[in-house]
């Protein structure tokens, strides 16, 4: 990622037009656009769908109905609860935790990474060493261990923990970007005007890496969802309420894979999670091509 790849349109433009620019670039790449539609659709269904669906209630008379049963399009689970309704309601926690966790780790990474690169010296050494040490501990293992200590019963707590553990990779990436940006003339000018470190870093330098940060934010969402659903699957996060991860856990433990009638019960959350992650990966990849024109032109 060379310097030339970062769009320098930022000076003087507003946040809205920058967002519009990113949207325009996303639409230019068909894969990126499909990814965006996929993610937007799933977020929309999860956000407003539950308002239009009835409450699910256990029903002993309708246990493990196969997919396609009238009234139960995706069948029912081992308590007789409709799978489709659970699917519509089940995206909320997963998407919420994914986005909030990624936002937390992105903010930490931006602050640490840009300050490390801009200030240099001991700040830089401390941040780099901390990131390196954190990187050697497999995150999912740390998460599993911490899950054993804390009762992670609120989505906010889960997001805090997942986000608080996943900043090192992005911190190093932001640091590298700021390193190359801080030598530019406009940064030098801002420094000579004595605008102060926070202003120079967060107002002058950071807007120039908006697409880069957005791309890494989406990678963060992907990772957070991977970790969250994994925790649910292993039963290491409290299994209260209902979401795609908890459905997956219950269907797996109930042996849904061995019964044709219950295949839709376990495959539904799997398909939803794959579609969500696939959409995010497609968006990420098209943003990467925008950031690095060499990948696209030749």
């Amino acid at each position: 990622m060379t310097e030339a790849t970062i769009p320098v349109t930022a000076i003087g433009t507003t946040g809205v037009s920058r967002f519009a620019g990113i949207m325009k670039s996303l639409r230019r790449s068909p894969a990126g656009f499909i990814g965006f539609v996929l993610v937007a659709l799933l977020v929309l269904i999860s956000a407003i769908g539950p308002f239009f669906t009835p409450e699910v209630a256990p029903n002993v008379k309708e246990i493990l109905l196969p997919a396609g049963t009238p009234g139960h399009l995706l069948g029912t689970d081992n308590e007789g609860k409709d799978v489709l309704i659970q699917m519509i309601a089940g995206g909320r926690t997963v998407i919420f935790v994914g986005f909030v966790a990624a936002a937390i780790s992105t903010v930490i990474a931006i602050v640490l990474g840009s300050l490390a690169a801009y200030l240099g010296g001991w700040v830089d050494s401390v941040v780099v060493t901390a990131a390196d040490v954190f990187l050697t501990v497999p995150q999912i293992v740390l998460l599993a261990v911490l899950g054993a200590f804390f009762k992670l019963d609120s989505p906010v707590l889960l997001a805090l923990l997942v986000g608080g553990l996943s900043w090192p990779v992005l911190t190093r990436a932001v640091r590298a970007q700021v390193f190359s940006l801080k030598e530019r003339e406009f940064v030098e000018a801002a420094r000579l005007l004595d605008l102060g470190t926070p202003r120079v870093v967060f107002v002058e330098i950071l807007p120039n890496m908006a697409s880069f940060i957005l791309m890494n934010f989406m990678i963060g969402v992907t990772n957070a969802i991977y970790q969250l659903v994994g925790l649910y699957l292993l039963g290491l996060a409290p299994l209260t309420g209902s979401n795609w991860g908890i459905m997956l856990n219950r269907a797996w433990i109930a042996g849904a894979i061995f019964n044709d009638n219950s295949l839709a019960w376990i495959l539904s959350p799997i398909v939803a999670i794959i579609l969500l992650l696939l959409g995010l990966v497609m968006m990420t990849r098209s943003l990467e091509e925008i950031l690095n024109p060499r990948l696209r032109d030749r």
């Binding site: 050697t136 501990v137 599993a144 200590f149 659903v229 039963g235 997956l248 295949l263 999670i273 794959i274």
Partner: protein, 364 residues
């Protein structure tokens, strides 16, 4: 990035600088390898200390919890329970924290990780010795497989850019990259195991068939590969996509380098340019990613081994977490960290052999 370029440039301007020859001691400590080794040891030390204080200081401190449960369940005195805890965690819960820490570290150096709470009489070291090799084996085989396949596929994609080969391989790569390893593992179980019946899921559980004695015979080798096949398949498929995509980007960038153009202009054969000029240079950045990915894959073992019932370190980690077996947990945590640090070190050494710039750059 820029700092490394500046140094030789300024030297050029100043002309040859005659530096006094540094003493043997300072040369030793400035040597790239020594500094790298020091960093690895420091990392393990920080993580070890971090884990120790985490286990002792967090809410629901397991040592005190263990003592309380022992008193409540068996009605023994506090002293007896504390003695048990001392044996279990290799530390004396009544000693000052700093002293406990010192004891713990000294014991670790002696290879004493404490004892398992779930299976009394079993040392943590023996638990690790039983389970770790299987994870290293399956993850290692899968990583090599995925890396090699990914590199070849990535180069094909880069050389056939904007053709149907590139488009279809890229789509497959992105798809595999997006799927979490545990979901792929479940899909493998559903389709290859339950639907197509290619694998007998019950027989394939465990790391080898019970009753078979570990040996270097062909039948035992056959047996362990039979049991490891599904985990290896899951790890390989979930990592091969990202290797291919990264290799594609890297190859495309390398193809634009001047030395490739020069090599073409010199009329070198295509295969020589592909292997000697493009492939070699394009694969370099992937080596440092290899070590990072290893940590990720070993972490993912907790899911994959659970789903296939493969008895590796992830499987025992899950049991330890579920059974609140903190001594084992701490031990496994350490061993995984050490493995990742060692892999990082190995990758860096390999990388520095392949790309001498690293050894020089590190000094800046």
């Amino acid at each position: 990035m820029s700092g490394a370029v500046e140094t030789p440039a300024s030297k050029l301007i100043e002309g040859p600088v005659v530096e006094p020859r540094p003493s043997a001691v300072s040369r030793f400590f400035n040597a790239w390898l020594v500094r790298r080794l020091f960093k690895a040891v420091l990392t393990v030390f920080i993580v070890t200390s971090g884990t120790f204080f985490l286990v002792r200081l967090l809410p629901g401190n397991p040592v005190d919890t263990y003592i309380q449960t022992q008193i409540a369940q068996t009605g023994i005195s506090y002293e007896a329970a504390a003695a048990q805890a001392k044996n279990l965690f290799s530390l004396d819960p009544n000693a000052p924290l700093i002293q406990q820490y010192a004891t713990y570290m000294v014991n670790l150096l002696k290879g004493d990780f404490g004892n398992s709470a779930l299976s009394p009489g079993t040392s943590v070291a023996s638990v690790i010795k039983t389970y770790l090799p299987w994870t290293l084996f399956s993850v290692g085989v899968a990583t090599v497989l995925a890396f090699v396949i990914g590199i070849v596929a990535g180069m094909i994609m880069a050389y056939r850019r904007e053709t149907w080969v590139d488009h279809s391989l890229t789509s497959i790569g992105a798809f595999l990259h997006a799927i979490p390893n545990y979901i792929l593992a479940i899909l493998i179980v559903v389709f290859l195991g339950v639907k197509l019946q290619w694998f007998n899921l019950t027989e394939a559980r465990g790391s080898y068939t019970p009753g078979v004695h570990p040996s270097f015979s062909l039948s035992f080798l056959n047996d362990i590969f039979y049991h490891a096949a599904l985990p290896i398949l899951a790890y390989t498929l979930t990592t091969v996509g990202s290797w291919a995509l990264v290799m594609k980007s890297s190859t495309v960038e390398t193809l634009g380098e001047d030395y490739v153009t020069v090599a073409r202009a010199r009329g070198l054969s295509d295969s020589r340019i592909r292997n000697g000029y493009v492939g070699r240079n394009a694969v370099l950045p992937l080596f440092s990613a290899l070590a990072v990915s290893l940590g990720f894959v070993v972490g993912g073992a907790i899911f994959v081994e659970k789903i296939f019932g493969y008895q590796g370190i992830g499987f025992s980690l899950f049991n330890a977490v579920n059974g609140r077996d903190y001594a084992v947990l701490q031990g496994i945590f350490l061993v995984i960290t050490i493995s990742v640090v060692a892999a990082n070190l190995l990758a860096d050494i390999l990388y520095s052999r392949l790309d001498p710039r690293i050894r020089v750059q590190g000094k800046g």
